[in-house]
Point group: C2
Chain length 200, copies 2
Amino acid sequence: MLTVYGDIRSGNCLKVKWLLDRLGHDYRWVETDVMSGVTRSTDFLRLNPCGQVPAVVFDDGRTLAQSNAILGFFGEGTPFVPADPWERAKMYEWLFWEQYSHEPYVAVVRFQRAFVGKSAGEIEPRLMQRGHAALDRMEQALADRDWLAGDAASLADISLVAYTRMAGDGGFELTGRPRVRAWIARAEACLGLPPYSGFA
Amino acid sequence: MLTVYGDIRSGNCLKVKWLLDRLGHDYRWVETDVMSGVTRSTDFLRLNPCGQVPAVVFDDGRTLAQSNAILGFFGEGTPFVPADPWERAKMYEWLFWEQYSHEPYVAVVRFQRAFVGKSAGEIEPRLMQRGHAALDRMEQALADRDWLAGDAASLADISLVAYTRMAGDGGFELTGRPRVRAWIARAEACLGLPPYSGFA
């Protein structure tokens, strides 16, 4: 059976869980606390030399890392990957943008606030500026569409909703971004998720 | 005709140029100096709201951004994308890793040194540590293989060679990484590139 190493509080890990659940895959979830140092242990580094979760391990020992690459592997051939080459390319554009221009700000600030316990004043202003810019970019992109790529929910929506719905944990308010909020509700409904209630 | 907006000194832009050249695509290259502020102009932001190069524009006005998404769009169906789903997934794993764990250190330090003119002492130590970790990870991955994903050159090699061959510009020495150096030479030969001679 497929094994997924993940921290249930991490958006990058939840993305993978949501897709596997939505597609009805059987898997074993190994809860892996990113704060415990276990992802830097020799055993874990043998699985994933990058020392990151999520990582999925197949029965034959093959391991795949990088949340969005995992989404691509399981999403291929399902309605979550558009068949049209152009829509598919736009989906991947969002997936790469998520890891370069959204996660390093929106998720990193959330991590520093909720996991590390920093106060708002201890967050580097540049991280807040870029996180707000990423959320503004999404608000703009959703002006004339319900989903980020193509006419239906795709991996781009699954990937981006993970940390966007948690943006408030990092002090990023979504109240002035009505399209993002409506899109979060659509994506949550599609994935069968209750509204996010904040870092517990 | 396809139009490519790019800065010829940028590895992210060169990746796209190399693949298009290798595949024999016709395109118009619009040299776009990232230091001039033009990528923040209203006209450019209309093309790519992220204000980044590379960006490719098709005859009908559609625009695609994110270097690795562009590689995926043009690489699909060519020998640079493995047909095997597993090798393909590993290729995407490297592509996402490149943008999250390699480019933000190896390319960013090069940018600060070569474009901005910072001295070695002005570079944040964390950036150097993570850049070295990325290069070490590649040296380890190349221990038992000639190419990063599958048995032939793929988009992963095209993407990663871009800034890896330029690592010296940022003060990252490759002398202690013989497998990376041999792989760079293989990738350059595959792409018809002369050895990189440093930032001019």
